[in-house]
Symmetry: C3
Subunit: 353 residues, 3 copies
């Protein structure tokens, strides 16, 4: 039933999005069409990823998902950088970190926890991820903020580029660690068997990949159009640009992660839900952000790795909260509620700023 509704929504929404943008329909109407279409497309991406996850195992599945979710974000950010909108890019990076860490993980913990009393996820992965979150946000984002206070612009960019290169190298090292040198080392014994092949995937490998690719392209197209409606929508609703960048872009831009993570939480596959939420955060902070810093060197306006103080403190608070909450490898509805409450507090802050 739900699947059919989303299929209908997709086959109506995508053409409507194309027609509406070509015919310059009113912004608020387009905004609603775009949002619904992305949510519908995201459900396809979620199902396709799930099918691939059944075939490829939870880890590769989670990685795939995070990759497809952030490809959209990377493309939109490059266009923004080209237009010199450095502040908007940094705001949407912040929003992506907060959205994945607090909203996606919070909803997964909450919704999953309402259905199941205690949900467990791999505690070794959680601690590995905690170390990386601390490194990316508390070290690599905080250090340039403080050091650049007495630096000129050239030194600030040099510091940003240096840190970006280190972030990318460590991100690749983390993949090498997880997929090569320590593959399966931190898995519980019962998970190392073939029992995840017992479940039948909804779609075959080829079909799942094709659907994932098509949906990603469609999401990218609709997302980019969506961005251009923001200014008009902001004026209508009295929102600031920072609020749109941090909160609205992040919610819509991470719709795919939301859908898949909550789906996994409802199936009590918390390993994958956590991998999507935190893996996506790490990909944004350790890969997308530094790559954007390097790409910005090609454009007239360079992007330093310097967030505004509210953005930085929000991310640092979110990381410290998540590290403490995920430390025991267990979740329940109240831990989800705590993460969501932190998200609302920051949302109010960015709304009023």
């Amino acid at each position: 039933m739900v699947d059919k509704a989303f299929m209908l929504l997709t086959f109506i929404g995508v053409p409507l999005s194309v027609i509406g943008s070509l015919m310059h329909w009113p912004s608020i109407l387009l905004f609603v069409i775009y949002c619904l279409t992305i949510v519908a497309l995201a459900s396809f991406m979620g199902r396709a990823t799930e099918s691939l996850a059944v075939v490829a195992g939870p880890r590769i599945g989670g990685l795939l998902n995070a990759t497809f979710g952030n490809a959209v974000e990377l493309i939109i950010s490059i266009f923004s950088l080209k237009a010199g909108l450095v502040g908007v890019v940094l705001a949407s990076l912040t929003g992506s970190v907060l959205g994945n860490l607090l909203l996606v993980a919070g909803l997964s913990f909450f919704v999953g926890g309402v259905k199941f009393k205690r949900q467990r996820f791999n505690v070794y992965d959680a601690r590995h991820n905690s170390g990386l979150l601390m490194f990316a946000v508390i070290v690599a984002f905080v250090i340039p903020e403080v050091f650049s206070m007495t630096m000129n612009e050239g030194e600030t960019i040099a510091l940003s580029v240096g840190i970006s290169l280190i972030l990318i190298v460590l991100y690749l090292a983390a993949l090498f660690f997880k997929l090569v040198t320590h593959r399966g080392v931190y898995q519980p014994k019962e998970d190392r068997g073939e029992n995840h092949h017992e479940e039948e995937p909804e779609w075959g490998k080829g079909k799942a990949i094709a659907i994932l690719a098509l949906a990603t392209v469609a999401v990218a197209y609709v997302s980019e159009n969506l961005v251009h409606t923001f200014e008009a929508v902001a004026e209508s609703f009295g929102w600031t640009e920072l609020f749109i960048g941090v909160i609205i872009v992040a919610i819509v831009g991470n719709a795919a992660e939301h859908a898949s993570a909550i789906l996994m939480a409802l199936k009590n596959k918390m390993d994958i839900a956590v991998e999507i939420a935190i893996g996506s955060t790490l990909q944004v902070s350790m890969f997308v952000a530094p790559v954007l810093v390097l790409i910005s060197l090609l454009f007239p306006v360079n992007m330093p790795l310097i967030f505004t103080l509210p953005e930085l403190i929000s991310m640092a608070s979110a990381v410290l909260l998540m590290v403490v909450i995920s430390n025991d490898g267990e979740s329940n509805w109240f831990e989800g509620a705590t993460l969501l409450a932190a998200y609302f507090i920051m949302g109010i802050g960015f709304y009023l700023l």
Copy 2:
């Protein structure tokens, strides 16, 4: 013996307090009488709570204790708010957080640890509390501090009210989680039985409640008089008002928690001692503080949830220290000494400020 001494002190101290305040004895003399009386009354509250804890189980007992300890504080703060003393209220909230987290827990760990080599407490509760401490202080107190830097007064109050509502909702959700949906879920199996009924309570349920109620009323009466001696005492000793608010008010105001927590630590009931210290901190930061923000809307001077930087950094440091120290569900005398040393450092700081 000790019990009889405290009974004598109570039956002398309470009448003396009434007579002294009516006859306007010298402030320093009244200060000493009030303090001793509160300590004596606190011992009654401790014994009554202990009796109730034996009957009702450690969790409800701990909650009861924290409630009775903070009722006094809430009443005094409302009178202060009515008088427009926003700075004093924020200082005494800070002092209550630091006092419970570092002094009460520190003394419990230290005194209990001198008697017993290793003391254990429920590690699930400790982690649940750590998540809430991070949420309340590192998110809900830090965010308005940073965001309000570029806000006007109206936006600052709006942000404070929004955060206060979220804090209260999450506090109630935490009670619902602990007492309804996850009651006993995180208890070790041997504790779920009836074995805590084996111990005989000192007083029956009715008598304990009556004594607790009477002692609370008496403490409230004496405490309020005590507050009015502070100005004169500060002048005599050369203390700043901030030092009195953060350190002196907190020590005397939390005398009940001190007495009960240390008593429990000496009986090796660390679950209750930790519940008193950290539960009381959470009640102050997630319930008393936001309720005061909301109540202040009725008065001419509104109270924002914005602490001074030394207050905020002290609370944040204390929370991070406690989260790391309580993380393993064990305590010893040295962990107590570490918490006490942190309290002394902050005490020197507020004294010199």
Copy 3:
């Protein structure tokens, strides 16, 4: 083979250092000679310490090592204080904390982790150390920074002296806890036996002590000369004094710890490697730093316990990262890489500052 090369290097390097400094050879040449000589001497210190560690057990061995490493540092700092170079002393204290916590531990984890898949160390010791790191850096270093913002010089020095006394008392209490009241309490049972005596020490107790003492004296002599070449070297290479203080002094000054810790990691004795890295950090922050504050009272220029903001934030980030990474009592090459990456980021920052 390696041992013989180092012996040769020592017997050539020490006389060359003496002759070169007396004959005022060019600074860059002397710089190279001094550095190589110290590395060679450090290998002797490492071997001597290892022999003593076999005889005395891992704990005392680790303490000995940290002591001998920091004796050099204490002596150099006292000479610097006498010359009024307060900023250089604070920078080299920062460098020592960062060097031990990120570089020494990072290299140990990395090199040990390349050889062994998973290395374990005593998780109780790791948590005990985490509590102390939080106390020393997040409480005792952060509090004076924030509180002194509105203090005059006299109050700042008073606060620094008070905190220094508390740090020293708690450091002595930590030794008392580890060596007297809780000796062996947190050791796994199999380690409490005599099985660490099975291994044969390379040198006897007397010979090891003699070599350790001689090498320490030689290192002290060479180190002091090395410091005087820094200004000329800085000019040649275009380095700032802060970079030399934080990075260069720390690497050369902690050569002994580096050598021993990596040696231990390669032998899979992670308990000792971690004890050297973190124990040395704690000794610097809880003993060397406060002792220097007190000693500075004898000199015309007093040293407050106030670091620059980049120094403080770097230390705080490093501590939070280490607490999260060491929390599980396990290490691997990737955790080492993460610590090293954090060190490089801070290194770039101090280089550009």
